[in-house]
């Protein structure tokens, strides 16, 4: 009975946090706009660069439908954007937790008969929901774009993309929860969000394929679990296009070369990490982050009471 009431209190807190976030239309719009602006900038300035890069993998004289080549470039860019946003949006959306600390609203929860851990995990879950909604909206807009320029994604892959978004969002919100547990000012939140927004795209190989880095740097970045979130997304966005290239007569060697160049295949110390391994590493990191988050919550609660 007590557990049921505590879980109802938990659900009420998640509902309040999520509602609180969406009450600020500007906040939601900015979370959505930033990745979309990035998508527009990618398409405007980098699309041709990536189209040329894809074409470099083609054998002499290989001709292909423009929709296929435009589509694969767009899909690759969208996979980058979604995987980066899963972390950057999570860091920004955690503003509900930080605001509650700044404005003192958290005291109102702390004087209520609700466990400290319930309050903290509710912040995490509501941030997960918000980030997942924002990412799903970006995905839908991105898919409309892909449908316009060239859609070759299978239904199974489209479904797996949603699974990838779920996994990446889980990773992003847990990472944000751990890092931002120590932040209690608006300035601190801005500083961390700026740092993460500017760095994460590069260190996860989302903005630049890891294949373009030196071997040492590539191995170092492959030690970071976020890289595998990007890899998962790349696989499911590119599979359909690779199959279409194959159907169009592109040799297997060229397809493998393309997958290697664009990080659909990831290698750690020369050994290829299979797709299931990517999920394992990312979800393993989630388990570690969740344990760290719970430990921080317990220590913080013990300090107070």
């Amino acid at each position: 009975m007590n557990k049921l009431i505590e879980s109802k209190k938990f659900a009420a807190l998640v509902k309040r946090n999520t509602k609180y976030y969406f009450k600020d239309k500007f906040m939601f719009l900015m979370s959505l706009l930033t990745p979309l602006i990035l998508l527009v900038l990618f398409v405007t300035f980098l699309r041709n660069v990536y189209i040329d890069s894809f074409k470099q993998s083609f054998p002499e004289g290989f001709a292909v439908d423009n929709r296929l080549i435009n589509g694969v470039a767009g899909a690759w860019l969208l996979s980058s954007l979604l995987s980066v946003s899963s972390v950057t949006v999570a860091f920004c959306s955690n503003i509900v937790m930080i605001n509650d600390k700044i404005e003192g609203n958290i005291h109102d929860f702390q004087v209520s008969p609700v466990k400290g851990a319930t309050i903290s995990i509710a912040y995490f879950l509501s941030n997960f929901i918000v980030t997942f909604i924002v990412l799903t909206a970006i995905m839908l807009i991105g898919h409309i774009y892909l449908a316009a320029v060239g859609w070759y994604i299978t239904a199974a892959d489209a479904l797996m993309i949603i699974v990838d978004i779920f996994c990446c969002t889980l990773f992003g919100t847990l990472l944000a929860g751990v890092v931002e547990s120590f932040i209690s000012t608006q300035g601190g939140l801005s500083a961390v969000s700026t740092l993460v927004s500017s760095m994460y795209g590069f260190i996860s190989g989302a903005y630049m394929p890891l294949s373009q880095f030196s071997e040492g740097l590539r191995n170092t970045l492959c030690l970071l679990p976020g890289t595998y979130g990007v890899g998962m997304m790349r696989n499911h966005y590119m599979n359909g296009y690779m199959q279409a290239f194959s159907n169009a007569g592109l040799p297997d060697g060229a397809i493998i070369s393309m997958r290697n160049s664009f990080d659909a295949n990831l290698y750690l110390f020369g050994k290829q990490i299979p797709l299931v391994g990517m999920y394992g590493i990312l979800l393993g990191a989630c388990v570690i982050l969740f344990a760290a988050y719970i430990t921080i919550v317990i220590i913080k609660n013990k300090k107070k009471y």
């Binding site: 509602k19 609180y20 600020d24 929860f109 702390q110 004087v111 107070k304």
Partner: protein, 302 residues
Amino acid sequence: MIIEIENLKKSFKDVNAVDDISFKVKEGELFAFLGVNGAGKSTTINIISGTLKKDAGSVKVCGYNIDENADSIKSEIGIVFQNSVLDKKMSVYDNLESRANLYGIFGSEFKTRLEEISTLLDFKDIIKRPLNKLSGGQKRRIDIARALLHNPKLLILDEPTTGLDPKTRITVWNVIEKLRKEKNLTVFLTTHYMEEAANADYVVILDGGKKVAEGTPHDLKNKFASDFIKFYSNLNQAEKALTELGLPIKRERDYLEAELESTAYVSKIFKLYPELFVDFEVLKGNMDNVFLKVTGKDLREV
């Protein structure tokens, strides 16, 4: 007793925020906790409300020991914070619903409670409005409503009228008085306003984390505050006469004030100098005088 605190201690590094204080609060009374900022009022409230760990001493609220039953205590107290801690962009309804849920009040039970409380505090007409669109008095009423959602036995008011205009302060106090009368609610008040403390049943004054005085306002005034007589005419004559009597006097532009040992001393002056008593008044010492006497600090200046 609704609150029993004995030898409570709490320090932050080398600052003794609460230094060995003991006091009791009876059920149904208006209890005032006085002190300047940093006196230890908020630290004590945070310990009572279970959000801060004490270093030593014992705290019992509504019969529960805070070390064993912090959650039971939380269910029995409602707190109105100095600054509103509700969600400004959300409606009154959403705010109260989300907070009621934390006390296990859901669905129809919440709606019934909201109906009762909105009638009691008269805010039915603003229930759908966002909090940031309300006036200061309306916001304060909602803060009080939030604190009362779960029918607490003890209402803690942490400087509830600080920053409010005089009219709103009166409104807030009318609400509190109504609650005390109708619900026999125990009210634990911290305030900077001495006139509010003067209406309390019992007062504890803190200074530097220590309890420096306690008692009913009447007892405290008798013990620590002098009475005064003010003359508004024959000022020169009055100054001469009162100086002869050896009374401490203060001459202002249009009156002369003398501090008296007791009100009874007035009859002695009247017998000796009846001609002075044309335009005058006798004032009982007030809580400002008490506070100044026991702490050496004037609350109006800190």
